[in-house]
């Protein structure tokens, strides 16, 4: 399991980073989204991979790590997902506005040498 998930994180990161270095704004926004999947999975995986142990307690119960998985990375990732959405939205609007103002979708706001 670990090896698959880490390979997956690696590929998501690599795709994201490659797109981040591209000249078109749309490429960058897709790259950022891929990168945020990678980062979310990475942070989540810091709590180790466990199957069938969601951090949902029995009513009245006291939990411990042998029966339940680590809830802290999950709490961190949960807000990261929502904030990631907000960031995507903001970046999308910035790129639209930039395209409206400059007439190009190049990240520098003007065409460079062909790339």
């Amino acid at each position: 399991m670990e090896i698959i998930l880490s390979a997956a994180i690696g590929v998501l990161t690599a795709s994201g980073v490659y797109l981040l270095l591209r000249p078109r704004t749309y490429q960058v926004i897709i790259g950022l989204s891929l990168l945020s999947y990678a980062v979310n999975l990475f942070i989540f995986s810091m709590g180790r991979l466990r199957v069938n142990t969601p951090p949902i307690l029995e009513p009245g119960g006291v939990g411990d790590l042998s029966r339940y998985t680590d809830p802290v990375p999950q709490a961190l990732v949960l807000t990261a997902i929502v904030i990631g959405f907000a960031m995507t939205a903001l970046f999308l609007v910035v790129l639209l506005a930039s395209r409206g103002f400059t007439g190009t979708d190049h990240v520098d706001g003007r065409e460079q040498r062909s790339d």
Binding site: M1, I3, I4, L5, S6, A7, A8, I9, G10, V11, T13, A14, G16, V17, Y18, L20, L21, R22, R24, Y26, I30, S33, F42, F44, R50, V51, N52, P54, P55, I56, L57, P59, G61, V62, D64, L65, Y68, T69, D70, P71, Q74, A75, L78, T79, I81, V82, I83, G84, F85, A86, T88, A89, L90, L92, V93, L96, R99, G100, D108, D115
Partner: protein, 992 residues
């Protein structure tokens, strides 16, 4: 002065309580001026008198409190007031008043009162007076802070405050270029000195092991014998010498004369420049006496003393003369402090007080002359004694004190200075020449003082004065009268007027090593007296020799006049902050995003890899066992989606978006698989919203059609660049994968996880630990996060308000054009019918889904505390419900039927969440403490109701508002754009 009679120490038992109470009074010196400053700024600008009364009352209050505290600081007593600030870092808001601080406090507040009275008449009706008095009070507060700080860091803070406020005061007439330049120069010099001093004080704190002034003052030997002593000394001296305008940092002070005269009178007599020498005296017991101290302080002091006096002779501007004289007198104090002898320190403190008195009155007199004649140029002035005899007499006495004429206060401290200059302190050349330099400087002082009087009040009355001079208003002169009286009284009977106070101050600095000294006018015929006479006669002679030259010469001393401190300063500044910075920027900077991103990725890789390499990182064994084939297949799809998205993002945006969604879904399934149901729910919902969002944006991007020919013609450079980026991406991905794998295969260390697992139900009242963490344990974080979400939504909204699409995106999408053309061709159809009928069945279903999605949101919300769900997920589910309506019916159709007010949703969300937090205050608990119990409602059944649910309700409401606001704002562009398009077409037709 109240309390003078009660010099006997209080009895210990009754003393403790009283001392504690008196210590608390110290905060008045900080609170009153700063609070007063805030209030003064709100006075109407035509209320000159009222503002002055107010500022004067504050200054007087501080003065009276200081006077009342006198019994507590006599015979080495110290008052303290301490507020814990960051005690674990040794940082406390400590105020400390000993005899010396008391003397300075009285000086600052008393002269403050007089300057306010003077400024009341000096400031013109058109000046923004409330701003003046607000700044004045703020400055007084900062200066009192410097004087009373009992903590080194606090001292540095107030020190910088004096620099900043003096910048604002010097630049008060900001329409005047000289004022702006002078203010900027003062700030640059004193600010940079202050930074050096901060570093020096930090080193000092490190050496001593405490930032507390009392501890520091008790560790003189530790400081002087420490290997870092010289470094620390130089840094602290940089602060003190720049502030006190000592050579070679003296040049800012004359330029600061562009300030209104009350400011000059205050800053350059009792405050600002005295802060430097204050610091020297403050740390004199722990830093002085070494060779390094003697040379650095002594050299700066001797040079400043002589050059300042020499330059003062050649000034044509009255205030310029006083400025250089101030520099020279500060040099004198610095020389005294450099000597390292207790007797010299006594003389230094005494001269600080004397100089403040006569220099303040002289600045005020110069201001009156300027005010009543319209000029400060000594070449144009003359014979004013006939018009303003009262002012003339006062100015004469004050400048006689400045020259060191017997029976005035300046004479006594100058005699003490001469006596110390003769003494041998260290056998070296600097010590040997000091008496000669002292006499020469004394001579120059006589010359410029005489010049001040003679050229202004005597000689012929000039004809071309801008105004007919006359005496100033009664109360404008009163401060000068008071100060001059003080000069006289102290000069004649020093021992019974200033004597006790000076003694108190000196004892607090020198403690047991306080020397025997006598304050008297007459010490018999001795060498200092001879030196005084030589200086007096020589000075008078020099003046009459140079009189004719000075009457017509240009500003500044010969030869030196060519050496403009200001020009050098400006050139250095321009070179540093403009030329060098620009060439660096040209060489290293770029405005292009891609190289910057590349650099960032590169740095991230290096920073990530370096610690691993340095610590001999070993690869963990690769474990292939235990792989679930289904999971492997899942991620085979996920990886294919991610790579596909990366390749399609340039030419096939929609395909890339679909593939991105695929990768997102696989991520979502992974969360389900690996025991994170909450994440899965949220991820799924966010995935939907993100896809809708980007779909809405796609239409405004330019068409990009892959040119097969072009791709074959790609230059080698482009190919190389892509290869490099590809390699960077591979390295980055590989590195992250490696780290992730290594961490995952190691056993879990002890974490805070068990804390949350144990307490989630017991204290948070919920079984869903993730949700309890979000809304309870880490509620404050969540509050911050929803605030971020709100800000982003508002930013998106604001950006889109001014959105202007590119012309090629203005036309309706191709599909709509085809559909509308079809309607046009059929006479029985109105335009837009096909668009409305398109996907009719799905859109009806979507409409029906609205209550269902609302229900789903409510369900997710209510179960959130115990089972997967919660405010975030519910909020997004609700907003999807709204968005579905927009998608099915179109923007207009929805908004005719249902007005959603996303801004209100957001506002209510923030208020509810914050109010829940504040609510716990009502019950005496800290912010965001929650209370939990179960509630049974008919139909719904039993569900958990913690007070955190209201917080979660706020989260829900805000998430709904923010998401809907973003999406609707984007969707509205499609309505606005055709309108703009039609307008453009109409305008085109009319033009034809």
């Amino acid at each position: 002065m109240r309390g003078l009679g009660t010099q006997s120490p209080l009895s210990p038992r009754e003393g403790n309580g009283t001392i504690e109470y008196a210590g608390k009074l110290l905060s008045v010196f900080i609170l009153a001026p700063f609070a007063g400053s805030l209030i003064a700024i709100f006075f109407p600008s035509d209320q000159r008198g009222a503002t002055a009364w107010f500022a004067g009352a504050i200054a007087l209050l501080c003065f009276l409190v200081a006077a009342g505290l006198y019994p507590f600081v006599t015979s080495g007593g110290v008052l303290r007031y301490e507020l814990a600030w960051m005690p674990e870092l040794g940082l406390n808001f400590t105020l400390r008043m000993d005899g010396f601080a008391w003397l300075f406090t009285v000086l600052v507040t008393a002269i403050g009162v007089l300057v306010v009275l003077y400024a009341r008449y000096y400031m013109a009706a058109e000046d923004p007076v409330p701003r003046f008095f607000a700044l004045f009070l703020a400055f007084m507060g900062s200066m009192l802070g410097v004087v009373l700080s009992g903590n080194l860091i606090l001292l540095a803070v107030f020190w910088e405050l004096t620099s900043i406020v003096s910048f604002l005061l010097i630049g008060y007439w900001h329409h005047n270029a000289h004022a702006r330049d002078g203010a900027r120069m003062a700030l640059t010099m004193t600010g940079m000195g202050g930074l050096c001093m901060l570093v020096g004080l930090l080193i000092m704190g490190r050496i001593v092991g405490s930032y507390d002034l009392d501890v520091v003052l008790a560790s003189g030997d530790t400081i002087r014998n420490h290997p870092l002593y010289v470094t620390m000394l130089i840094l602290i001296l940089l602060g003190a010498l720049t502030k006190s305008a000592q050579f070679p940092f003296h040049f800012w002070l004359p330029h600061a004369m562009a300030a209104p005269t009350p400011v000059s009178a205050y800053l350059h007599s009792a405050t600002m420049v005295k802060a430097g020498v204050f610091l020297l005296v403050r740390f004199w017991p722990v830093m002085a006496g070494t060779e390094a101290w003697f040379w650095i302080v002594g050299l700066a002091g001797v040079t400043t003393l002589l050059l300042g006096a020499y330059f003062a002779i050649f000034q044509q501007d009255l205030k310029g003369l006083l400025a250089y004289s101030t520099i020279s007198h500060l040099g004198l104090i610095t020389v005294l402090l450099s000597l390292g002898s207790p007797l010299a320190a006594v003389a230094a403190v005494f001269h600080i007080v004397n100089h403040a008195t006569f220099k303040a009155s002289l600045f005020m007199a110069a201001g009156i002359i300027d005010h009543e004649t319209g000029t400060r140029d000594m070449r144009k002035l003359g014979g004013l004694i006939r018009y303003m005899p009262g002012t003339a007499v006062l100015a004469m006495v004050a400048s006689a004190a400045m020259a060191g004429v017997p029976l005035l206060n300046g004479f006594i401290s100058k005699e003490m200075f001469f006596a110390e200059a003769i003494e041998t302190h260290q056998a070296n050349i600097l010590d040997t020449i000091t008496p000669y330099v002292a006499t020469l400087a004394g001579m120059f002082a006589v010359t410029y003082s005489l010049r001040f009087i003679h050229s202004v009040f005597f000689g012929q009355t000039p004809s071309e004065l801008p105004k007919i001079p006359h005496e100033p208003p009664r109360w404008m002169r009163a401060p000068i009268e008071f100060l001059v009286l003080a000069c006289l009284v102290v000069g004649i009977i020093p021992a019974i007027t200033i004597g006790p106070f000076l003694h108190t101050a000196v004892v607090s600095i020198l403690g047991a090593s306080t020397p025997q000294y006598s304050l008297a006018v007459w010490h018999g015929w001795n060498l200092p007296l001879v030196m005084s006479f030589v200086a007096l006669l020589g000075g008078v002679g020099l003046y009459f020799l140079m009189r004719n030259y000075l009457a017509t010469s240009t500003e500044g001393p010969p030869v030196f006049r060519l050496l403009h401190g200001q020009r050098i300063f400006e050139r250095v500044l321009v070179t540093l902050s403009w030329k060098w910075a620009r060439s660096l920027e040209q060489r290293l900077g770029t405005r292009r995003l891609q190289p910057q991103m590349r650099f960032l990725v590169f740095v991230a890789i290096v920073v990530g890899a370096l610690p691993l390499l340095l610590n001999h990182f070993e690869l963990p064994p690769l474990l292939v066992r235990g792989i679930d084939p289904a999971f492997a297949l899942l991620w085979a799809i996920g990886i294919a989606c991610a790579v596909g998205a990366a390749f399609q993002a340039k030419f096939h945006r929609l395909a890339a978006l679909v593939l991105l969604g695929g990768a997102g879904l696989v991520t979502c399934i992974t969360f389900v698989w690996l025991s994170a149901p909450d994440l899965a729910v949220t991820q799924l919902l966010v995935e939907i919203v993100t896809t809708v969002l980007i779909l809405l944006g796609l239409r405004w991007l330019p068409k990009r059609i892959e040119d097969t020919q072009e791709s074959e013609l790609l230059s080698l450079r482009v190919r190389l660049r892509r290869l490099r980026d590809f390699l960077l991406a591979i390295v980055a991905g590989g590195g992250v994968a490696l780290i992730a794998y290594t961490v995952m295969t190691r056993p879990m260390p002890e974490t805070i996880a068990s804390y949350f697992l144990e307490r989630a139900y017991k204290e948070g009242g919920g079984t869903n630990v993730v949700n309890v963490i979000l809304v309870d344990f880490r509620g404050f974080d969540t509050l911050g996060e929803i605030a971020v979400l709100a800000i982003v939504a508002l930013t998106v909204f604001a950006l889109l308000l001014r959105f202007r699409p590119q012309a090629d995106s203005l036309e309706a999408p191709e599909q709509q054009q085809v559909q509308n053309a079809f309607d046009d061709d059929h006479p029985d159809r109105a335009e837009g019918d096909s668009v409305a009928e398109y996907l009719f069945v799905p859109s009806v279903i979507m409409r029906w889904m609205f209550p269902v999605s609302g229900m789903l949101a409510a369900y997710l919300f209510l179960r959130g505390h115990d089972l997967p769900g919660g405010g975030f997920a519910a909020g997004i589910a609700m907003s999807i419900g709204f968005i579905l309506q927009y998608m099915s019916g179109g923007t207009r159709w929805v908004e005719e039927r249902l007005r959603i007010h996303p801004l209100r949703w957001m506002g209510i969300g923030v208020i509810v969440a914050a109010a829940t937090g504040i609510g716990s205050w009502l019950f005496g608990y800290p912010f965001l403490t929650s209370h939990a119990q179960y509630v049974t409602l008919p139909i719904v059944g039993k569900f958990p109701l913690a007070s955190a649910i209201f917080f979660d309700l706020g989260v829900f409401s805000l998430v709904v508002g923010a998401t809907v606001l973003i999406l609707i704002a984007l969707a509205h562009q499609s309505i606005r754009a055709p309108r703009a398009h039609a307008r453009a077409l109409r305008a085109g037709k009319e033009a034809k």
